[in-house]
Symmetry: D2
Subunit: 199 residues, 4 copies
């Protein structure tokens, strides 16, 4: 049994919906256990994030998928405080060779979500993790809200969140793209873990 952990912050519930879709996709893969772990403001005291139990779960996982809303052009402050708390893990190379991935959401179709996703890949790289992006086929750009990958995010998942109630976002297509991503990360983790390094 391999474990995929999804660690995310959600301010208004949209990123949580994407996280749930990613979890559902990973959960559907036989041989994979999914842990859905929420970052909360209460874990932060005087600018320092701490939750030893949550961090232990991440250290025990075979893959970690990072999720955060894009606020003012980057991961939320809550997520960043968590990221700062991984400095010791970096220095010890404690998460070396874990599989990594990432997702974000915000109100605009673009809106600097690419900056957030590149940051998540940067964080994973410093932690010596192996980054896996989505692999849905390129959208056929029909404009249909059921479309996979309709906004064209390659380095991770960029979902369009809900600002106005009547828009009903994230779209069915965005959530399905997220679920396929969860499935991909789970499958890649099984493959990667099937053969030990220097086998």
């Amino acid at each position: 049994m391999k474990t995929v952990a999804i660690v995310f912050h959600s301010g208004y519930g949209n990123t949580a919906k994407v996280a749930a879709a990613v979890a559902e996709g990973a959960h559907a893969v036989a041989g994979v256990t999914v842990r859905l772990l929420a970052l909360t403001p209460e874990q932060i005291t005087a600018g320092r994030w701490q939750d030893d139990a949550l961090m232990a779960e991440l250290s025990a996982a075979d893959a970690i998928i990072f999720g955060a809303p894009t606020y003012m052009g980057m991961v939320s402050g809550v997520f960043k405080c968590f990221a700062d708390a991984t400095a010791g893990i970096w220095f010890q190379m404690g998460w070396k060779d874990k599989i990594a991935g990432g997702f974000t959401s915000s109100a605009y179709t673009s809106g600097d979500k690419v900056m957030t996703l590149h940051y998540l890949a940067t964080l994973a790289a410093q932690l010596r993790m192996v980054w896996v992006g989505p692999a849905a086929p390129p959208s056929n750009l029909t404009g249909d809200e059921q479309d996979l990958d309709r906004n064209g995010y390659y380095i991770g998942i960029g979902a369009v969140g809900n600002v106005r109630e009547d828009l009903g976002l994230p779209s069915a297509g965005d959530l399905r793209t997220a679920a396929l991503y969860g499935q991909r990360i789970a499958e890649v983790t099984l493959r990667w873990q099937a053969a030990p390094l220097n086998a």
Copy 2:
């Protein structure tokens, strides 16, 4: 009279439409002359871009707006060959304190256009130019194709180009956003040039 130069590459005509809209917006500002300068494959020999007359026009301008399609996650190769040819200008600081801006287009609403725009800002920074982004009010996200800034690009203009004929892109809203950007760059250039440094 101040001059705003728009130097761009367009592979399939979409970026050219955005360039024309930017030009139109700048042209509407009294006291500003606009130069629309196209980069073409023919200016490249064995990987080196050269067009001394075009480069002289840029060096004479008060502001330069860079435009390129996003191909495979970045400015097109044709644009990059042009950018490489500015190395001597960097070293001489020949474009120091010119106003700079940038735009791109591609088929997806996101599709790594943000990477392209950050590159254009990077190029401008190395050339010691002053970067000016768009300043349209935040979109109200109605989803209407007349909307300004409906995709949420902040560092420059990211228009959605036409892949399928029937989609009729770039949208009226994207082109109007581009025109407002041209107007803004023109107004900023007049303001910036009104008072010499160390006045």
Copy 3:
């Protein structure tokens, strides 16, 4: 009299040294008042940064220079919590057309400081500010620690902080580069403010 505000977070004192150097450079320009404003963990409660007096000072300034250490590949969590708190200002376009700049420090000569600086430029762009990078002449790469711009940062200032006491960092050259940047931002602010928009 024009005001340049420097708002920064420093965890171990290195970024504070760079901030002081930037302030000194700006202060040396006649007609400019400098405000050096520190972000602290105590301003954060349950993940939300708040300090109304500090925010009012920023809103009153003609230029704002953002500074943060690079932790795990990005601005510190403390700085990001502050950035999140500017969302209302973005939506009201309250800082539109203020001059902006940025600096960072970390222990490595590279170490993803470029990612931090691009984020600061992204934040400024969303706030509709005008970004101004450093303009020291290109380094002659002698390797001398007195060198200006010896690491080649263009979009902002990337200083190398002190990890080991005996290394005595930031270097004299890095601090002088920072001071010249403060001077440049001050001069640009005077020039920019000398002529009102639509003059």
Copy 4:
């Protein structure tokens, strides 16, 4: 036998030295064949890169490591023309699940090499490849030119090239970091290829 292809452009010979070091590191791993493939200006006609034999070698490889000098803040124009030529492969998902990595060199210790490396990761992500960064232990920052990872590049390899003859760059430490990266990519490729997806 698994194949690691290294496809690179070098303008002045520095990136070629880094490529050779990466190749040497990969070559030392039993069970791995290395192909060192140079991009040249002669492969470009009217802005379009074409070399069917080289592209066929890449398509046959199990891993592709991309290398380019950083010119004016990004991969060289020659490399970008090559990247543009992979659009058809993207659309067909022809390189899906190949292992990917990247390296760059330029004259400054920072100098926007991080932008280049993030672009190489972006290109790999669009091509649905799996990105693997370096995994040398964090530098102890002695300043010694033998140091591994002395500049702190995480997403790929950023070597400091030679501008002045007497500086003797890239340093021994940079080249050894590059060789360890080649070794890592080779080992990861063997591990990844040992178990088929959906095994």
